[in-house]
Each structure stands twice: as structure tokens, then as C-alpha cells.
């Protein structure tokens, strides 16, 4: 059930690529690659003509088989776009291998890497949508987050949004002695819209969903069943974006043959909130509360991934108590997330809301702690560069639970101990007792939505979904951050890759999280009163020039931040690698040949959250 992983991996040095690794590539492609020698940068630059062969060699010869992140930067002064790829080795772990390709801004065409890694599929569509880089050979290069017909490519540095005020915050109209004016008053339309010059709405025909349906195949295609037998029509069905079972504003356009799914296309972007464009205007610390709203169930984990990235760039050390507090909230967040997932997976299976009520009950108790700790239940904004914002409070306030009950003031350490040693293990065992052998759950989940190991790696799946397909890849072990290398825990692995294993692995992970928390509590007591936030506590920090990709193992998968700094107080590029987005790459393959009702369950077991998926 568990694969023991060695605890010997030393501190990560993800910015340095080992020479002997790149030597293979330099020998094989002497003319196609060169090292990236800019100050603060790492990796290699590949010429676009040889990109596909070099990528294949990185996958097969260097064994970096997991392409996690595809970022894209607009270097407007130098006149080119740069696409940055990060690949990892799922067997040995270790830091990323980072390679790049450049294209001129006025003729941005690159070969697609979808033939090498399927995980490039959605990310290349995103790069086309937001940056306008065309990928030749991509099977379905449509806009992803905006819609067909949208004007411009918003993440280009010369593209301006309707409410544009200035390049960088703080805006002069607000600080130091600002008088903010309603942005609506600056535009003739009184709301957040702009149109290209000489656009007239008369005769405008919206593109609509024709492109989506075209990709799914015309509904008149032969069904594959002989006409002499039962005749079934192919039918396109839309689920979402407001369907309650799609966990947010997610839409699946499904082609059905009878009730069997033949094609499935995820349609996303209904919650595209422009995190990246806003993030490039913000100061570094100003982005922290925005990260809360990525995966809004796990705000603490998002905070950490971002804090780790910036801390690495400015070389900030974190005191021990801060690390302990971080692990405390992180693992509690993981428990919240997995409880939530199990509750709503059962919802999707038809046990409407009763299991979820039990899960939400436990979540509320953890949120009481978060509220006492950070001031907010969900949007905690708790991490800072160099520590955390607050130390543990002396008491946790609980609401009255019975008529005539007074609000409770509970000792914080006692509250945490009750949760970790008593309440949460019992709740986990309760789930296990009532659900795991449940006939409906077993028959609907066992053998349904199988994700084979090789497909999972090719699709760039990360987190519990990848581990349920038999890959013991956990960033807490493979590229350790914080103090995870001092802690004793197992990487949970399951080998069947079906929905049932994806359910079981969540239970395994909850138990491992509790095991970690049990090691944290005595250390928290021993370090009481120590420093919890080192470094400068100002609102602005300056980050040295350079790039960095920081990542953490979030409950949903690998959350990564690719940040490029130009030495000022605002990030030049702020790219988020969202696990939810990349984890839906395999959705079609998992659903093909199954019934509509199964697709809902499979989606539920993938655990997506739309705030992060659409950003």
C-alpha cells in the first residue's frame, strides 16, 4: 500500500542543472541548444527547429518524463516571446529540468509538444489564448480561457485592459495622497468593456459554440453500430457550466452514442479572473491574498507555494516555529480538502448531501482554528516571506452549539490536540467504516475511469491522482521543501488507477497527514514564544533579477509559480501552474466508453476547483 521512499534526498537546488545531465544533450544536439547565461536564469535555450527532438531526448534519454509546467513570457524590449518548460523525473525525483524556446513577437510560431507530452495540450492552448503564440501541429488550438472572437492576447505587455490605470501598483491616484475615482466613470459604457476601433455591433455574429462542436465531430457521423441492428443517433450534450455536479462553473461538451460517451471536451474559462495580469501589476506581497482565491478550499497551501517561490528568489530563511506553523496549517488544509472531496464524491454518486454534512462538520472545526489564527475562515492570507503573519492565539472561539450555550473560549493547543489525536482520526475511521465497503460506492467506482500509469505521466497528472495510478511521486519527498525532510511519513500509493483507488488514496493521505501533525504538536509546544516571522516586514520587497519556478505538493496536485523578476517591486511575469487545469487533460480518455453518470463521478474523483483551473 505504501512505498517507502528514501529520506536521504538533500536540500533542493532546483536552479542548478547538473552538468552531466545536460552533457548528453549538448553532445547529441551541439547546434540546437545553448545554456541560458542571463543573470539569475538557468536551463538551456533550444532552437525552435529542434524543439521536438530535444524534448523527446529529455523525456527518453534524461528520463525527465513529467512535463509539469509550460510558461510563457513576453520580453517586449528584446522583441521575443519565451516559452519555458519544466520537466521532472518521477522515478528519482530531484529538481526540474528547465528548457526554453524563443520566438520573435511578430511571428510567434512554435512546434507543438503535444506529441511528446500530452500535458502540453491545454497549456499550449492557454499560451495561444493569452499570449498569441501559435503551436503548429497542435490538434485543437482554440482559445481556452477567453472565447473565440475575443480581441487580442491579454498577457502581452502592450495589451491593456479596459480599466487600465498604470503599469504598476501602487497607483499614483491612490498613494501617497490619492483620491480614487470609480473606474466606470472613465469609460463611456459605464462598465468593464472595450471594443477595437471601428467595431460596430451591427451584423456581428458571435462565434458561439460552433468551434467546440466541430471538434467533437458532427453529430451525423456513423455510430459504429451496423445499421441493421439498433440504430442510435449521436448526440451532443452540454453539462454545465451551472450544473451542480460539475463542482463549479465547469462545462463538459459530450458526444453520446446512445448513452455511451464517445467524445468529451472540457470547456473552461467561465471563472477566468485574470490572476496573472493582475499579479503582474501588483507588488509581490500584494499577490498573497490573490493566491488564497486560486484553490479556495486550500488557501493555506497556495500561500505556501507562492511564499516558497519568492523566498527562494530573495534568499530568505524561515525560522523553525514558522515552519512548524506552516506544516500545521498545510496538513490540516489537506485534511479539509480530502474530507470535502469524499463528501462531494458521494454526492455525485447519489448520496445527496448526507455524507457531505458529516465532512463539513469536521471542516468547520478546522476553520474555527484558521479563523482564530489568521482572522478569516477561508481566505487566510497567512503566509509571509520569511514566516507567517501571526503566532498561535491563546484561545480558539467556538460558536454556541446548544440553546443557552455561551460562546466557548478553548485553549488553542488543547483544541489542536483534541482535533488531531481524537476527533479527526475518529472521523476518518467513521468514513472508512460507513463508506469504503458500501455496495453502491464499490460498484460505481471499482474499475471505473481507469487511468493507466503511462497515460497519467504523459498527461502531467500530479498529486493524489498520479499516486493512485501507481507513481510514488510526491514533491514533499522528491524535491523537499519546508521541513518535510525532517518528518516521518509515507507517500501513499495505489496501483489500479480507478475511481475507487482515487477515493482510497484520499483516506490514506488523511492518515499520513495526521501522522505528520502528531509529530508537529510536541515541537510546537517546545518552540512556544520563538520568532515566527524573520526578515523585513514592509509592504514592498525588491526581488533580484532572474527567474524561478517554485512548487509545492498541494492537496490537488503540484501548484507551481513561475516568476520572472526585473529587479523592481513588481513581478515581470507571474505564471501559475494550476494542477486542476492539467489534471483534466486525461478526462476524455478516462470517460470514453462509459456512461454519462460515470463522467460525473470521474470528474469528482479528479478533484478540480475552478478558481484555480481558470485562474
Amino acid at each position: 500500500m505504501f512505498q517507502e521512499t528514501e529520506n536521504t534526498m538533500s536540500t533542493p537546488s532546483s536552479d542548478v542543472t547538473a552538468n552531466d545531465v545536460t552533457d548528453v544533450l549538448f553532445r547529441k544536439f551541439p547546434n540546437a541548444i545553448q545554456p541560458d547565461e542571463r543573470e539569475g536564469y538557468s536551463g538551456i535555450i533550444v532552437s525552435p527547429d529542434h524543439l521536438v527532438e530535444v524534448a523527446q531526448s529529455i523525456r527518453d534519454d534524461l528520463r525527465h518524463d513529467l512535463l509539469t509546467s509550460l510558461s510563457y513570457v513576453d520580453y517586449i524590449d528584446e522583441g521575443y516571446f519565451e516559452v519555458v518548460y519544466h520537466a521532472y523525473d518521477t522515478r528519482k525525483g530531484g529538481p526540474a529540468f528547465n528548457f526554453k524556446a524563443r520566438v520573435p513577437r511578430d511571428e510567434a510560431v512554435l512546434p507543438s509538444l503535444t506529441g511528446v507530452w500530452l500535458s502540453a495540450n491545454l497549456q499550449e492552448r492557454e499560451a495561444w489564448d493569452l499570449m498569441g503564440i501559435r503551436f503548429t501541429g497542435h490538434p485543437n488550438l482554440k482559445r481556452l480561457l477567453t472565447w473565440e472572437g475575443f480581441e487580442g492576447h491579454p498577457l502581452r505587455k502592450d495589451w491593456r485592459e479596459p480599466f487600465y490605470e498604470e503599469e504598476k501598483k501602487p497607483f499614483k491616484s491612490r498613494w501617497p495622497e490619492g483620491h480614487a475615482e470609480r473606474a466606470e466613470n472613465r469609460l463611456p459604457y459605464g462598465m468593464n468593456v472595450q471594443y477595437p476601433p471601428e467595431f460596430t455591433p451591427d451584423g456581428w455574429v458571435p462565434e458561439g459554440d460552433a468551434a467546440i462542436y466541430e471538434a467533437l465531430g458532427a453529430p451525423t457521423t456513423d455510430s459504429g453500430i451496423s445499421l441493421h441492428h439498433i440504430k442510435t443517433d449521436q448526440l451532443i450534450v452540454n453539462m454545465g457550466p451551472q450544473h451542480p455536479s460539475t463542482h463549479g462553473v465547469f462545462r463538459m461538451a459530450v458526444t453520446l452514442d446512445g448513452e455511451t460517451i464517445t467524445r468529451l471536451e472540457p470547456v473552461v474559462g467561465y471563472l477566468h479572473r485574470n490572476h496573472e495580469k493582475i499579479g503582474e501589476r501588483n507588488t509581490y506581497l500584494g499577490n498573497m491574498p490573490f493566491t488564497d482565491r486560486l484553490d479556495y478550499i486550500c488557501s493555506m497551501s497556495n500561500n505556501l507555494a507562492y511564499a516558497l517561490t519568492v523566498e527562494k528568489m530573495i534568499g530568505q530563511e524561515v525560522p523553525e516555529r514558522a515552519e512548524l506553523l506552516r506544516i500545521l496549517v498545510l496538513e490540516l488544509t489537506r485534511i479539509i480538502n480530502h474530507f470535502w472531496l469524499i463528501g462531494f464524491l458521494l454526492n455525485d454518486l447519489g448520496a445527496f448531501f448526507t455524507p457531505a454534512l458529516y465532512m463539513i462538520m469536521e471542516r468547520e472545526l478546522i476553520l474555527d482554528l484558521f479563523e482564530a489564527l489568521s482572522g478569516s475562515r477561508m481566505m487566510c492570507n497567512y503566509m509571509r516571506f520569511g514566516g507567517v503573519a501571526y503566532d498561535l492565539p491563546s484561545y480558539v472561539g467556538g460558536p454556541a452549539v446548544k440553546p443557552g450555550d455561551k460562546a466557548r473560549y478553548l485553549d488553542t493547543m488543547q483544541f489542536i490536540k483534541d482535533l488531531v489525536y481524537d476527533r479527526l482520526p475518529k472521523a476518518t475511521d467513521q468514513i472508512d467504516t460507513f463508506l469504503t465497503q458500501n455496495e453502491v460506492l464499490v460498484s460505481r467506482c471499482k474499475g471505473v475511469g481507469i487511468l493507466p500509469t503511462d497515460l497519467a505521466i504523459a498527461c502531467g497528472m500530479t498529486g493524489p491522482v498520479l499516486r493512485a495510478s501507481g507513481v510514488a511521486y510526491d514533491i514533499r519527498r522528491s524535491d523537499p521543501y519546508s521541513i518535510y525532510n525532517e518528518l516521518d511519513f509515507d507517500v501513499a500509493v495505489r496501483y489500479n488507477g480507478d475511481t475507487y483507488d482515487r477515493y482510497l488514496i484520499r483516506l490514506d493521505e488523511i492518515r499520513q497527514s495526521l501522522r505528520i501533525l502528531e509529530q508537529i504538536i510536541p515541537r510546537l509546544e517546545a518552540t512556544e514564544g520563538q520568532e515566527y516571522w524573520a526578515g523585513k516586514r514592509g509592504h514592498t520587497i525588491r526581488v533580484p533579477k532572474g527567474e524561478h519556478y517554485g512548487h509545492a505538493d498541494n492537496p490537488k496536485g503540484e501548484l507551481g509559480f513561475y516568476i520572472v523578476s526585473d529587479g523592481t517591486a513588481n513581478p515581470y511575469r507571474y505564471h501559475i501552474r494550476a494542477p486542476s487545469l492539467i489534471n483534466i487533460t486525461a478526462l476524455e480518455a478516462m470517460c470514453q466508453g462509459l456512461k454519462v453518470a460515470d463522467s460525473v463521478v470521474i470528474l469528482g474523483s479528479l478533484d478540480i476547483v475552478l478558481g484555480e483551473l481558470d485562474r
Binding site: N192, Y195, P197, Q242
Partner: protein, 226 residues
């Protein structure tokens, strides 16, 4: 922690009692007979069985689900029955950031709800764009398209704040009168035109304005209207 009352035209704070004791009821019938006005019994029953639509957009939807769970228990307000179909729902809780890609669907859902219908803008984003207001695909408040009855501040509002919003809505409902409500007037109510996705979101009510602006391209960005 609690949301303040934001609607202007709600009734005053007096508790609306169903039974109106001004009318003499014989002593022996007091416990069996209630004399009231049609408005009061109609509003009393409506306000205690508002069915919200089961539909969430973003972070606020998580707090909405938490509100629907056992600790906050909306069944106390007769509101625990969340209907996924707009045809069966009385109340749309716009819980989260409204994007330009999503707003045509929201307007369509609103048009599909049968009257009387109410809208709660839950959280900063639905009320006015919130932290994402400056974003290029974010609608700066759902009230640009559909009428909103109660605004709840917060990012996200706590479940308590949402309950406070419900209480405010109940007060509003109890202040309405059959003789003046729009849905008993003659004729059909006009549906709200569904916006169109063009180069940017096109509110079809602004078509003439967009055409005008296109003809005077040169000074378009500086133009200001009061």
C-alpha cells in the same frame, strides 16, 4: 462579522405579526382564529419558503454550501430546499465572481426563473467586481445586468452574513404588497436581453452607444459621461 442591512426599501424593524389583534376576535376563538390581511398572510408564507437556486460561481459558493450544512442550518428559515432548476427557484444567490463568459448564462437563468424572483449578490465580486474588478474578463457587479435585491459584503461573506442577507430579504418580501408588485400587473414582463460575446462583452442595450463610439474613434478613450 455580520452584514449590515443594505437594501433601502425594506420595511421598518417592527416584527410582522401574522395575527392582527386590532380586530375583535371573541375570547373563546383566540387560539383557533387569526384575522389578518391578505398581504400579510401572503408575504408571511412566501418569505418563509424561499427556495434558492443551487448554483455557485466561485469561492462564495463554498461558504454558501457551508451555510447549507448543519451548523448554520437554513432550514430554520424555510430555505433548505435548493433547486437546481431555475423554474423551481425563487431566489438566485449570485455567489462569486461573474465573468464575461458566464454572464450570458446567468442572465438566461434569471429569465427562466418564474416571478416573483429575487437576487442576492453575495460577496464583493458579485456586488461590484471585488478584488478582480480590474481584470479584463470580470463583470464589475451583476447589477449591471440583472436587478439585485440584497447585497452582502465580504470576501467571502461568512455564513452568518449570508443568513443576515436572508433575513434582510425576508423583511423586503414582507414589505411588498399584492397591489403594487410588478408581477401582478397587466401584460407580460420583459425578459432581460442576453448579452453577446463579441470582441468584448456586448450589452445589447448599449448597441447604439457602441456604434456612436466607433464613429468617433479618435477621442474614444477619453470620453466621460455623467
Amino acid at each position: 462579522m455580520s452584514a449590515r442591512r443594505l437594501t433601502a426599501n425594506t420595511m421598518s424593524h417592527e416584527v410582522v405579526s401574522l395575527n392582527n389583534p386590532d380586530y375583535p376576535v371573541p375570547e373563546e376563538l383566540r387560539h383557533n382564529v387569526a384575522i389578518t390581511t391578505l398581504d400579510r398572510i401572503y408575504n408571511w408564507s412566501r418569505s418563509r419558503s424561499v427556495w434558492p437556486m443551487l448554483f455557485g460561481l466561485a469561492c462564495c459558493a463554498i461558504e454558501m454550501i457551508a451555510m447549507a450544512a448543519s451548523r448554520y442550518d437554513p432550514a430554520r428559515f424555510g430555505m433548505e430546499v435548493m433547486r437546481p432548476s431555475p423554474r423551481q427557484a425563487d431566489l438566485m444567490i449570485v455567489a462569486g465572481t461573474v465573468t464575461k463568459k458566464m454572464v450570458p448564462q446567468i442572465v438566461r437563468l434569471y429569465n427562466q426563473m418564474s416571478e416573483p424572483r429575487y437576487v442576492i449578490a453575495m460577496g464583493a465580486c458579485a456586488s461590484g467586481g471585488g478584488p478582480f474588478k480590474e481584470g479584463y474578463t470580470v463583470v464589475d457587479g451583476i447589477d449591471k445586468f440583472i436587478p439585485v435585491d440584497v447585497y452582502i459584503p465580504g470576501c467571502p461573506p461568512t455564513p452568518q452574513a449570508l443568513l443576515q442577507g436572508f433575513i434582510t430579504l425576508h423583511e423586503k418580501i414582507e414589505g411588498q404588497s399584492i397591489t403594487t408588485v410588478p408581477w401582478y400587473r397587466k401584460g407580460e414582463s420583459e425578459p432581460i436581453p442576453v448579452p453577446v460575446l463579441g470582441p468584448d462583452l456586448i450589452d445589447v442595450r448599449q448597441t447604439a452607444l457602441i456604434r456612436d463610439m466607433a464613429s468617433q474613434v479618435s477621442d474614444a478613450p477619453e470620453a466621460v459621461i455623467d
